[in-house]
Symmetry: C2
Subunit: 196 residues, 2 copies
Amino acid sequence: MARPRNFEEAEVLEGAVKLFREQGYDNTSVPQLIEKLGICRQSLYKEYGDKRGLYLRALERWGQREIDSKLILLASEGSPFENVLTVVRGWAAYASQCPGGGCMTVTAIVETRDDKEASAIVEKQVDRFERGFLEALGKAKELGEIKPKIRPERLARTLISACYGIGVLNRLEGSAPRIRDTVSLLLEVLHNARQS
Amino acid sequence: MARPRNFEEAEVLEGAVKLFREQGYDNTSVPQLIEKLGICRQSLYKEYGDKRGLYLRALERWGQREIDSKLILLASEGSPFENVLTVVRGWAAYASQCPGGGCMTVTAIVETRDDKEASAIVEKQVDRFERGFLEALGKAKELGEIKPKIRPERLARTLISACYGIGVLNRLEGSAPRIRDTVSLLLEVLHNARQS
DNA sequence: GATGTTTCAGAATGAATGTTCTACAACGAG
DNA sequence: CTCGTTGTAGAACATTCATTCTGAAACATC
């Protein structure tokens, strides 16, 4: 009953994630978004309200995708402790594969410190990630995979810190050795926590 | 032989550090700088070239001050290992004292990813910091304060990662427990590395 | 084929940005 | 005092930004 839209919701959001992730919020202009996303001005404003609206949706989508994949790994069958190791290794591998490139969440933490709505989205995702670690470690403890005196909460929180620390340093050229050694030491800590 | 200037170099730079640190580069406007720094437009441009010039100077000053204070602590008399502990504890204490507030270096890493000059300044400071840790840990090893099998490089790199990881998380509300546990675990790792 | 509705494409708008220009003020030297 | 120099104050400028507005285009229905 009307002219068909020329864009696909999913593609637009995906493109927005890409642009905002690579360039940040301020350095991505509306004209640029229009050009790269294949959506016209009017539709963008009709669909998302404004630039910030699109950003928030993109941020949420990025976090959802990023964290979901980790949670699936953490909750998958087999040894929960091994799953934790897999996620940590994977996080590090991702960093080393795209040096300089980056996690949108890290950018958002720094960029949107005064935007409560954006902060809430980020916090939610980080919390989900941490809970994922915590549940896996809790299960590992129940299964006797880690020593009784180890506190899963503390380990989970440290893993989160390490992950986002890696996320920042990955933005800094010449930090590959730092990331490598950090992960190596982290894995050693985990190894020591293991019930042998 | 001319009209005396109405501003003090040091004050201007100090104010610029404060503003850029709190708000970032993009969100700090030239009018705002003029208003808060007590320097007039013309003088700002004459003295620093442009806004970015002032930012680079401010970034350098911040890094200089921040890292210098750590290096002094790390190289001070007494046990080098204890000095490392002091700096780590101090870094964490600073974070917990100003939650949400932040290290200008962390912001710069994220904000200025395409600015080679700014990146160079940041890298230089981070390297200095890491070398400070490394030298202290090296001395500690010579003195037999840490176990022979411990590699100071790896430990130093990990400490850097942890510090800047803390710097990011400090921007995220509700991360105080994460920071606390991370430091606690970090100190435990150091404790285990100690030659008892 | 005409009508109604939704999308599209781009011009128009108004505010904010960084930077430059202009006129005036304050000093030291002659 | 007068002149040359340097700093100040703020107007003026060009650009860019996010956003809104305008008119044509593309479909479904009648």
